[in-house]
């Protein structure tokens, strides 16, 4: 059975801290891994990773994929209160006539002032 597991489930830090969010997966027909940020509404796209070892960066956020060990990490440096959200990891895989995303349960991050 395909699964995507995120850890930790939740995290509370103070502004300025660095956090590392984890995502491990076991899926068939892997195509890519995506990270989303979800505040009170719909998920918004952060990164898509297709190759091992290539770090994607966007400001204070960065992510890397290890296709051999089947995991990805999302790092956030110098956290701010605006980083408080649920972070979702999803694996894109071939599925029947199309493709689908299998989501992990998310990591809820709270950044305190």
């Amino acid at each position: 059975e395909d699964k995507v597991v995120q850890s930790p489930l939740s995290l509370v830090v103070h502004e300025g801290d660095t956090v590392t969010l984890n995502c491990s997966y076991e899926v068939t027909n892997f195509r890519s891994l995506l990270w989303y940020k979800q505040e009170k509404k719909a998920p918004t796209f952060l990164f898509m990773l297709t190759s091992s070892g290539i770090e994607k960066k966007s400001g204070r956020l960065s992510s890397i994929l290890d296709k051999k060990e089947l995991f990805s990490i999302l790092n956030i440096t110098a956290t701010q209160t605006g980083d408080s959200a649920v972070y979702l990891c999803a694996v894109d895989r071939v599925y029947n006539a199309g493709n689908m995303l299998t989501f992990g349960g998310g990591t809820r991050l709270m950044v305190k002032p």
Partner: protein
């Protein structure tokens, strides 16, 4: 562009009632999806479509139906609503080609079945 739009934003149903959740996108995306998100959980795929006239089941299709008569619209039908269908429903769309499957999500519909 409005992106992906969903109506209604909120709805309360009684057990056994039916309703249709509307979803539309103006990005000319071939692929469209319906997900549900239960409290504290990730998203689970209900149905998806790879183009007008083509739909297929996802992970949790029971109790739902879809149709795709146009590229823009992808309504989700709930027949005989049950409390287990209380959830937030997200519609999404994507272009099938590279970059692989970056999905754009609508704002969601919060449904409560009492």
């Amino acid at each position: 562009n409005a992106g992906v739009t969903q109506t209604p934003k909120f709805r309360i149903l009684k057990i056994g009632q039916s309703m249709t959740l509307q979803c539309a996108q103006d990005m000319n995306h071939n692929y469209m999806y319906w997900y549900r998100q239960d409290p504290g959980m990730g998203l689970k795929l209900i149905y998806y479509s790879v183009g007008a006239g083509i739909t297929d089941k996802g992970e949790v299709p029971n109790g739902y139906n879809v149709s795709r008569s146009t590229t823009e619209d992808f309504p989700l039908r709930l027949e005989l609503a049950a409390p287990s269908q209380t959830s937030v429903y997200f519609c999404a769309s994507s272009h099938p080609g590279p970059p692989y499957n970056e999905q754009f999500f609508g704002p969601g519909t919060r449904l409560t079945v009492l």
